[in-house]
Symmetry: C2
Subunit: 112 residues, 2 copies
DNA sequence: TTAATTCATCGCAATATTACGATAAACCGG
DNA sequence: CCGGTTTATCGTAATATTGCGATGAATTAA
């Protein structure tokens, strides 16, 4: 088939998977790290930072925008990109909730 | 093309993307949550927990095993799955490092 | 040994992702 | 208005992912 059966899972699980998918490419990880390192938004040429064609980077930025982790505002002839603070924190909290489940559950449990 | 240009990125970025890719499907999120909820490993029938065919779940488990987040040991006629504690913590730390970068960098910076 | 159970793997079909050249759209300086 | 710069989108090709039926391998119970 090739189609994720999203209906079979909870909204929370689908949302978490969406965020993970946005992080599931080294170029997008690199873009996010670059945006985080900057003092404020990056206006223009993220292209120069990566060894990828302009069209490819634009596509990765689109993915990050669609999932809400990044916002872009037109600033004259350039476009300024920065992390979307609220969504960024929401995604962080969701991933934290997966890795640090509720109270006493940790992966150090005894195994077979 | 369709081939990730892993050579263009750092090992850290590629590794992070690998882990994110493993989480980038709701079925795998559900499997991990189920393994975390259990007292110890799950021996047999994770299949009953999800609305997916046995072959599909086996494939998702293979992905989780290949990336190291899950380990499986044969126990008689069944197979016991559990979270791989060290790798789980390593992945958690790597994702934390992305979301909470070094000292003063946070996404609350001023934007355009 | 035989039948049942459990899980992995193969093979296929459908869809998604990745990458990039080409091109379009929007803006600015002159 | 006219080039130059910057970014988005389109179209295409290559590859990856998802899902599942069918089949195989290993074990257990009888």
């Amino acid at each position: 088939m090739g189609l994720s059966k999203t209906a079979a899972f909870t909204a929370q699980q689908n949302q978490l998977a969406e965020w993970a998918k946005a992080l599931a490419h080294p170029a997008r990880v690199a873009i996010l790290q670059h945006l985080l390192q900057m003092e404020s938004c990056v206006c223009g040429s993220i292209v120069n930072e990566l060894d990828l064609a302009q069209a490819t980077i634009s596509q990765h930025l689109k993915v990050l925008k669609q999932v809400g982790l990044v916002q872009g505002t037109v600033e004259g002839s350039a476009v300024c990109y920065c992390i979307h603070p609220e969504n960024w924190n929401t995604a962080r909290d969701a991933l934290n909730a997966l890795f640090n489940p509720s109270p006493a559950q940790n992966p150090s449990k005894v195994c077979c």
